[in-house]
Structures are given as C-alpha cells and as structure tokens.
Symmetry: C2
Subunit: 133 residues, 2 copies
DNA sequence: CGCGCAATGTTATATAGTAACGTAATCGCA
DNA sequence: TGCGATTACGTTACTATATAACATTGCGCG
C-alpha cells in the first residue's frame, strides 16, 4: 500500500502551497520536521518526485527548488517566469512555442521528451516599483 | 593583473573541449588536480563563472554541469538539446523563439533578462540505433 | 501461516556550491 | 617613487543538495 507515501505527498503539497515562491527540498524538510521529527531527505525526495511526475509540482531546475503547480491544468509543460527581485514565479502555457521548439531542434533528428523553459527577469510589480524610484 | 585567472580559464576550457558531453565542476576539478595538486573548488567556480559570462561556456541548469560553447557565436542565448542516451548536447540559436517567448510572458508585464531553454530527449543517432533493435 | 514482493524508513555518504578571510598584485595620486 | 585604497586570488572550512544501500514493514497469495 502507499497510504504513507500519499500522506507525505499531501503534506508536502500543503507546505508548497503556503509559499508563492519556489522552495528547496530542505526547506520542506525543515518545515515538516516541526511536526514529524524523524522525517529524512529520501522521504522528501521520493514524495517530491512522485508529485512532479503527477504534475502537481514543478521542479525549477535553475534554482534547484520546487513550486506547486498553480495553473490547475496538470501534466503539461509550462514556461516559468521567475522574478529575481521578489522570487515570484508565473506559469505560462504556450503550445505553439513548444511546437516551434520541436521543429527547430527536430531538424537535426532530435526527438524531444521533456522541456525545461525558465525565464529569469523582473515581474510587473517589481518592475514598476523600480521605475518609480 | 588577472593572468592567473585567465590561465585557469584557458585550462578549464581545454578540459571542457576534450568532452562532447557536459561535465560537472568537480569533474573539471579532478582533471586539473592531475597537473595542479592544490587547486580548489572556488577557483574552478570563479573561472567557470567568468567563462559563462563571456559566453565561452554554457551552464546546463538541468544537469548542474557545464559544456564549452560549440557554436562559435558567443554571447547568445542558445537552446540546448540534451540526449539522455549518449549525453551529447546540441546548440540551436533561434531568435524567433526567444521573441515569441518574450511576447508570451511579457503579456503580464514580466521583463525577461536570462533564458534557460533545455530540451531532454533522444538524438538522431541514438534514435536510429534504438529503432533498429 | 509463511514466503515473496514492493513500498517505506534509516543511515550514511556522495555531489554541488559558497562564505569568509588573508595575502598579493594593481591602481590612483601626490 | 611612495603608499593607502581597491580588487583579484588562494585557502580553509563550511553549507546545501541529492542519492546509494540496506533494514524493516506490511500486504497478497497459496
Ligand atoms: Zn503547472
Ligand atoms: Zn517581482
Ligand atoms: Zn553557444
Ligand atoms: Zn544520443
């Protein structure tokens, strides 16, 4: 059975949903340790990996961190816009870009399986805040 | 003077150019230790970071590894196609995709500074090898 | 029951990256 | 040239991220 595993996944998802920025596996670990003293890294990583497979959580490769999927629509490849000022991450879904991407890199015979698209920059509110000052 | 720093950059670039797959900073470290016993991680990371800024080396975020720029044209943002079979990485330059990407994520007011586009999959030769068997 | 399998827990370790500080080279300027 | 300020570099130690390996649990089934 996997009731325990599912329990960890649910707990971790709750932790991730309390944040609006990506957090590291070890941040999750520390948080869960407040209530479950004996939890250890492999448990966290197993659950995060299951959640990622199920599309409930996205791994932010360029930050080695994780964020709950915000776009309702799971099992998609999304574009992550990461504000380097406030840390906020926004998800966009753009099938056309994925298609163009496939066609560009497919020219050489490469067949894509997983896309990582992460854009670092400044979000709207941080941008206007900086423009003011 | 920064002749020492430039020397490390040159040595590291030589190491990276001997491989056709991304290698980790610590792989570089081990290799250089064969000839320079006392070299240490910060030296490697400083040089890698300078090389990355200069566009001579790309950091593969989804592998925590580095590869020498293969496309001659430095200081560009490139799309990396990573074969999960043989590890080979191919670079593509596609300004149109970057433009589309900016326009999609710009709708919400986000202004992009750095793009990370990495596609995992199977390269042409590994694909045909698998199709045969 | 009692064997076999798969999921989970546990310990330890591997891998990746950086802070902090001292020293040495370089620059700005009289 | 002399000399303080500044920056680059080396070195030590440490923090952060991730996984290997093995023990244990609990369930399915004859
Ligand atoms: Zn999502
Ligand atoms: Zn912001
Ligand atoms: Zn390149
Ligand atoms: Zn291949």
């Amino acid at each position: 059975m996997n009731t325990r595993g599912e329990m960890w996944q649910a707990e971790i998802l709750r932790v991730l949903n309390r944040h609006h920025t990506p957090i590291s596996a070890y941040d999750v670990l520390e948080t869960l340790r407040e209530t479950h003293e004996k939890i250890s890294p492999p448990t966290i990583y197993r659950a995060l990996s299951a959640l990622t497979k199920r599309g409930r959580v996205h791994r932010v490769e360029s930050l080695n961190a994780f964020i709950a999927c915000q776009c309702g629509q799971h099992q998609h490849t999304s574009i992550l816009s990461i504000c380097e000022d406030c840390g906020a991450v926004e998800e966009s879904v753009a099938p056309k870009i994925l298609k163009d991407l496939s066609s560009v890199i497919g020219k050489s015979g490469f067949s894509p399986m997983r896309h990582v698209i992460e854009v670092h920059g400044t979000c709207a509110s941080c941008g206007s805040r900086k423009a003011q000052s």
